[in-house]
């Protein structure tokens, strides 16, 4: 092997661990105990260091095969040393060594790509199915927010200015010229600058989604408020376009990325509510245990929401600006919605059945 060849060059050669030759010279029984075993400890330390550095290839086959034995030997040495030896330095060393080895041996088993494969191949959709109740709650509040936004602006147009920040409306306001509104839905002529726009949208929306999740910690209430306030804005805009007779076009324009993006925000909000709800109503478990179980499940949903937002950013930045026909836009949006629904409902991990 190439590695064996490299070891012949002094630079690449690993320092040999030599056994102390004067074990009998030690006057203390506990020191002899330690000297007899320290070669094994140092071998274990070398393996653990290689693992910590993320270079498992440096470990020789012999070392790897002996790893479980070396670990148990060190652990039992520690147990014995605690009861028979007063060598504080050696006990501190063994403590640190066994702890480091424990973290490596009982550490995360999978690589990031392995995790991602399991995640896309079933872990994500299972987590989403597990929080269905919270998704229903979040959906209810999102719809309610939209309706409230619509009703408020239809009763009193001044509400629009309170709901929609000035910079965002860009001329889209109650009583605006329908032609101006129609212009704002038109695709742009070319794709220049769109990729930067898509990237910006992605990072911005992900921030909002993460906020929706993180705020769920306070029993979910801030998450609900965030969802409602974002959706009243949508309701207000929807009313403005519907009033100008452009309701269908607006929905089509929005649906291209909206089905994916609102889906991601729905999931993020539901994840936040899930954590908040578990902490408010932990049931038989302690609050800590309930929060942890919910947090880990919600984290999977959130990681998936980020992926959805990448897709939404691409759709929003490119597809929506390039496809102009409302029916085509609706078809794309509907297809995305159908895809996500099918994925979450149908994707099952193979191991699920096996276990």
């Amino acid at each position: 092997m190439a590695l064996d060849y490299l070891r012949k060059i002094p630079w690449f050669r690993q320092a040999e661990i030599v056994a102390p030759d004067d074990i009998e010279a030690a006057s203390l029984r506990s020191d002899r105990f330690r000297l007899e075993r320290e070669v094994d400890w140092q071998r274990l330390e070398r393996i653990v260091t290689a693992l910590e550095k993320g270079r498992p290839k440096r470990i020789t086959d012999d070392d790897l095969l002996d790893l479980p034995v070396l670990y148990r030997k060190a652990a039992s040495s520690l147990a014995v040393a605690r009861e028979t030896s007063l060598d504080a330095a050696a006990i501190a060393y063994l403590d640190a060594l066994v702890r480091r080895a424990w973290f490596q041996i009982y550490g995360p088993r999978e690589t990031l790509t392995g995790w991602l494969r399991g995640f896309l191949g079933g872990g994500w959709s299972r987590a989403v199915r597990a929080i269905w109740l919270d998704i229903c709650i979040a959906l209810f509040f999102m719809v309610a927010g939209t309706v409230v936004g619509w009703l408020l602006v239809s009763r009193e147009p001044d509400w629009f200015y309170a709901l929609v920040p000035g910079a965002m409306s860009g001329g889209r306001e109650p009583g605006a010229d329908p032609e101006v509104l129609r212009q704002s839905l038109e695709p742009t002529a070319n794709a220049d600058g769109l990729s930067i726009f898509a990237t910006y949208l992605f990072s911005n929306n992900t921030g909002v989604a993460i906020l929706a999740f993180a705020l769920g910690f306070a029993f979910g209430i801030p998450t609900l408020l965030l969802l409602i306030s974002n959706m009243t804005l949508l309701g207000a805009l929807l009313f403005v376009f519907a009033e100008a007779g452009l309701g269908y076009e607006f929905v089509a324009w929005l649906s291209v990325h909206g089905t994916t993006e609102l889906g991601a925000i729905l999931l993020a909000g539901a994840a936040g509510i899930h954590v908040g709800r578990s902490m408010a109503f932990p049931g038989q478990r302690s609050v800590l245990a309930a929060a942890q179980g919910a947090g880990v499940r919600a984290a999977q949903v959130m990681a998936g929401a980020t992926i959805m937002l990448v897709v939404a950013g691409l759709l929003e930045g490119f597809v929506r600006q390039l496809v102009g026909e409302p029916s085509a836009r609706l078809a794309i949006g509907g297809a995305m919605l159908a895809f996500w629904c099918l994925y979450f409902a149908g994707m099952r991990r193979r191991q699920d059945r096996a276990v």
């Binding site: 006057s27 504080a88 942890q292 880990v296 959130m302």
Partner: protein
């Protein structure tokens, strides 16, 4: 002095936890202190900051101006730089901590420098989901309060004050529980523990045997306990002449010996070996002597 020492040792004792490995061995763990965790966070933010400075300097070298990025870009190269910039901001906010804590060391560079790592509470395996959960929460705990302060959030009147109180809850959360958990740790089921590395020191009794020169009897050896033995060990390992002289004098006073100058190391080494042999033989019979008072 002694009051301070007891205060420190009780504070340390309060941070001790025990982890039972599958082998049935109790591994002591110590919860990382809140101060060192705050320092680790500052270090990480500093590393990110340095990273961005380097990034912009390199942009400057290839003749690009920051102002151009935000503006209306036409050339594809500038557009690419803009995308890279936005993504870099995004990943430094969400990806940096995630990436490093998912590694084998379970620690960001800041944590690693200060000898800490993330671990699952209760001796479970640390999973990817846990690390994701604890780092998503970091956003409301670190970045939003930071932006809030930088954006002069206090000026906004009543709602600003409310937001301040709200965010203060997250920032002060670690001070309200025994394990110094921040909100993210609570949700993810993790905690941050000290993970020091220790080097194997030389065995103490390999030094030339002086047990014939100095003979200590039962009465002399039963004066001290394990605590004193460990102090003596650290004095011997440090090898400071003045300290050794002082300790040797103190021991001689205690056991009623009288010794001349210049032979402290030999005296202390053999006293250490004799005392340790004495205490360890006691241990084998189940008798432990914690310190000189017991």
């Amino acid at each position: 002095m002694t009051k301070l020492q007891t205060a420190i040792s009780t504070a340390n004792a309060r941070r001790e936890r025990e982890l039972i490995t599958p082998e049935g061995l109790a591994l002591p763990l110590r919860i990382a202190s809140r101060g060192s965790r705050a320092l680790a966070l500052l270090l990480d933010l500093f590393f990110l900051f340095v990273g961005f400075v380097v990034f912009f300097t390199m942009l400057g070298f290839i003749g690009l101006n920051i102002n151009l990025i935000g503006g209306n870009t036409q050339s594809p190269a500038l557009e690419l730089v803009g995308i890279v910039f936005i993504l870099a901001l995004f990943f430094s906010r969400y990806g940096y901590f995630l990436w490093f804590e998912l590694g084998a060391r379970g620690a960001t560079p800041g944590k690693r420098l200060l000898g800490m790592r993330v671990a699952a509470r209760g001796g479970q395996r640390l999973t990817t989901e846990m690390v994701i959960a604890r780092n998503l929460m970091r956003d409301v705990e670190v970045f939003i309060p930071a932006f809030f302060l930088m954006g002069n959030g206090f000026d906004a009147g009543l709602s600003g004050a409310a937001a301040f109180v709200w965010l203060a809850v997250f920032v002060l959360f670690p001070f309200c529980n025994r394990d110094a958990l921040r909100a993210g740790d609570l949700v993810a089921g993790t905690f941050v523990v000290e993970a020091p590395r220790a080097k194997l020191q030389d065995a103490m009794s390999l030094a030339p045997d002086h047990s014939q020169t100095y003979r200590f009897g039962e009465a002399e050896l039963s004066v001290y306990g394990e605590h004193e033995l460990q102090v003596l060990e650290s004095v011997l390992r440090n090898g400071d002449e003045a300290a050794m002289h002082e300790v040797a004098q103190a021991i001689c006073r205690k056991i009623g010996w009288d010794m001349g100058r210049g032979d402290e190391r030999e005296f202390l080494t053999s006293f250490y070996a004799a005392l340790r042999a004495h205490l360890e033989s006691g241990m084998r019979f189940g008798k432990r002597k914690k310190d000189k008072f017991s």
